[in-house]
């Protein structure tokens, strides 16, 4: 496959790993921000071929994981209403709310549909004028342009039975929050390539200066990640801290201006709660006042939400990079993808799910011991 296979070349990957090993002289902790990067690192076993001094810390960039519980509970309440067709990206369906998830709502009669694009939700609204169609508009800067476009088109085409439950989150404020959190160990960041594809990376130099950290814009394939790590290590070892773009085939400095314009027209910056982390100032997008009539929270009364988070779940510590998923006591025991306690165990981008699905709970070496640990059950 063009543009993918080349970036999965085993020989080149091992050569990059050797180059990183040559550069490194002492331990460094590097956070990959995006859940897609975490997924790729664990799926391909990239951390296994890195020198021991490099620790990859998995960041909060899984949109499904950080969507606040309150928003999930609101989604469940709205999706339960008989007049509603509730449209969502696929991996939100199994995210646990306080009591249920969207799958269970669908099982008990709710009309919940998986869409690949918010424009599909718009089409469903057009085809079902007698029903209320609600789209769960979540995600980082990556999903925002399409979500904003759907909302803009709904307005322009006067599709009055369409509304959106919006809970967008932003990467740069999360980087700041992590650097400001007590006990932070992160020395450098791999910035999320696809986020930067939309936003560019003009916001990052000030973060590099303020915190003295290298930030390298990085892609998702093994060679992309290893090249991002190589450049990060080179800066760290040289005592440098600036922004580098290691994903030039997709990202340019100013980003996608057309996408930014649509986002700016529909959304405005707001304080946002992050599941497991707490409220981060100016870290999200909400609908602008002019679009509030398309706000599902306003259209449906869902104020009586009392959230209840699992006491065992340490997703917040995982999302902040304080612990690895398999260091949580509930990991693989009370908490599995079958019975997730937190969203990080659900989404394929969630660090806990990546660790579980790719077997990071199994000791592969000793024979006759691992069969009961759950992987094959």
């Amino acid at each position: 496959m063009k543009y993918l296979t080349e970036y999965r070349d085993g020989d080149k990957a091992r050569a990059l790993a050797r180059e990183i090993a040559r550069l490194v002289t002492r331990p460094w902790a590097i956070m990959e921000v995006c859940g897609g990067q975490t997924h790729s690192i664990i799926r391909n076993g990239i951390d296994q071929i890195l020198p021991d001094q490099i620790e990859m810390i998995h960041g909060p960039g899984c949109p499904v994981c950080v969507t606040p519980l309150e928003v999930i509970d609101k989604a469940l309440a709205i999706a339960s209403r008989p007049e509603v067709i509730f449209c969502s990206y696929g991996d939100m369906l199994r995210v646990p709310g306080s009591k249920d998830d969207l799958f269970k709502i669908r099982g008990s009669g709710g009309d919940v549909r998986v869409v690949y694009s918010p424009l599909d939700a718009l089409r469903i609204a057009r085809e079902n004028p007698q029903r209320e169609v609600v789209f769960l508009a979540i995600g980082f800067e990556t999903t925002a342009p399409a979500n904003a476009m759907a909302i803009k088109l709904a307005r322009e085409q006067r599709i009055d039975n369409f509304s959106a439950l919006v809970s967008h989150v932003l990467v740069p404020p999360a980087i700041e929050a992590i650097m400001n959190s007590p006990g932070n160990r992160v020395n450098a960041f791999l910035a999320a390539g696809h986020v930067c594809c939309v936003t560019g990376f003009a916001e990052y130099p000030s973060l590099c200066r303020q915190y003295g950290i290298p930030i390298v814009v990085t892609g998702f394939e093994p060679l992309d990640l290893l090249e991002g790590i190589r450049r990060t290590v080179r800066q760290l070892e040289n005592g440098e801290a600036f922004v580098e773009n290691a994903y030039g085939r997709v990202v340019c400095e100013q980003g996608n201006l057309v996408a930014q314009a649509v986002i700016g027209e529909v959304f405005e910056v707001t304080d946002r709660g992050w599941r497991g982390i707490g409220t981060i100032p100016r870290s999200g997008w909400a609908l602008r006042e002019e679009y509030r009539d398309l706000d599902a929270e306003r259209r449906f009364t869902v104020s009586e939400i009392k959230t209840c988070e699992s006491a065992l779940c340490r997703a917040g510590d995982v999302l902040k990079g304080a612990i690895k998923p398999n260091e949580c006591e509930a990991f693989g025991k009370e908490c599995t993808p079958r019975n997730p306690l937190g969203a990080t165990m659900v989404s394929s981008e969630g660090a806990c799910a990546a660790y579980f699905n790719y077997g990071r709970f199994v000791q592969l070496t000793p024979p006759n011991s691992a069969a009961t640990s759950g992987a094959a059950k």
Partner: protein, 368 residues
């Protein structure tokens, strides 16, 4: 890719050895309690399906020593051994590139019977049709079934038709059941894998699931991805002729290769190591999976088999598969090992490793 292909009871069971699941007394029903209603994942062929079978159906049915939850169950009648299986088909759309619900319904059951090493003989066909369904379409489906049966050399000798009220169904559902005869000396079943054996797949992975998914999601490629729907009984006959010592056969339908390999590892108490770079996957299927964020190892196949065979016999078996019209892309993909029993491990393209687990329920497309 099991989206609407929700089948809850299709793992007909094989082999004469007593089953490991305890049928006496009621198994712990606990895992079912957190889903008061059936959800799509219960038909996805993953963990939720297994739970339903183990905790709900088997305790209620009482079980039988023959039952070991393989693709088909083998049982003796006088001096002969028969293989028996049943499967229901609820695929949408009913007609798709490379096939229809009709040939799927015949091929699927023929293949389940074949996975015991049996020669499929007779099928039944039960239809649940929605009021208002075009007769012309029913005719096409029936024609496809007849043609598929002819190709597979089986006869449909029993049937049933029920009509349900308009809007109470989804056009047309089909159940088929079938029997076949197991040849003398043929002993095939997931428990029989041994360390040192090789793992072979008979062709490219994920074609059926991605054909269905592409149609459903309106993904357009230069040429459409076609389902691999095909009967495998001739291929199996050729393989058994090449080596009667074939240990395991599975057709990786729902849950894909991942579910089949995990079932083999679990039943045989051996580990399995596969080499990711050896997996035959069509570029278009790989592309579609990348676009939707799906793993081709979890995607359904309807005309492929996984075979475990002693290394000494592997070349003959591979040659036998490749001599068949649908077997040109067959490949050795891995090995059975004594390490990590019950666990399937993939060597990744960069030389690291990861565990291949069974999907929970439906595979969910990723957000971005």
């Amino acid at each position: 890719m099991n989206g609407r292909q929700t089948e809850t009871t299709d793992r007909g069971p094989s082999e004469n050895a007593p089953a490991e699941i305890r049928f006496d007394g009621v198994s712990c029903p606990l895992p079912l309690q957190d889903y008061p209603n059936v959800i799509m994942g219960h038909g996805g062929g993953g963990k939720l399906t297994s739970e339903l079978i183990e905790h709900l159906f088997l305790p209620a049915f009482g079980g039988h020593p023959f039952v070991d939850l393989a693709d088909s169950t083998v049982f003796p009648v006088d001096a002969t051994r028969l293989a028996f299986s049943t499967d229901s088909y609820v695929v949408q759309p009913l007609f798709f590139p490379g096939g229809s619900i009709g040939d799927l319904a015949v091929n699927g059951t023929v293949n389940d019977i074949s996975m015991s090493g049996a020669k499929p003989l007779y099928l039944s066909a039960g239809f649940i049709v929605e009021e208002g369904f075009p007769i012309e379409q029913l005719q096409r489906i029936a024609h496809d079934m007849g043609a598929a049966a002819k190709r597979a050399g089986v006869s449909i000798i029993a049937g049933d038709t029920k009509v349900i009220e308009r809007a109470r169904g989804d056009g047309c559902y089909i159940n088929t059941a079938g029997v076949g005869v197991v040849g003398e000396g043929v002993e095939i079943g997931p428990k029989r894998a041994r360390p040192g054996d090789l793992v072979i797949v008979s062709g490219t992975l994920g074609d059926h699931g991605m054909a269905i998914m592409s149609v459903r999601e309106g993904l357009e490629f230069e040429s459409p991805i076609e389902s691999d729907s095909a009967s495998l009984n001739e291929m199996v006959a050729a393989m058994i002729q090449a080596s009667p010592a074939i240990r395991v056969l599975r057709d990786p339908t729902r849950g894909g290769l991942s579910a089949s390999l995990n079932e083999i590892a679990s039943a045989s108490k051996c580990g399995i190591v596969i080499d990711e770079s050896r997996l035959p996957i069509k570029p278009m299927v790989q592309s579609a999976c990348e676009i939707l964020g799906l793993d081709p190892l979890l995607v359904a196949n309807e005309g492929k088999l996984v075979c475990v065979v002693a290394e000494a016999d592997s070349e003959e078996v591979l040659a036998a598969i490749r001599s068949q019209p649908d077997g040109a892309n067959a490949a050795v993909i891995g090995k059975v090992v004594s390490e990590h029993p019950g666990i399937v491990v993939a060597r990744t393209s960069i030389g690291a490793s990861r565990v291949i687990t069974i999907p929970i329920g439906e595979q969910l497309p990723r957000i971005c």
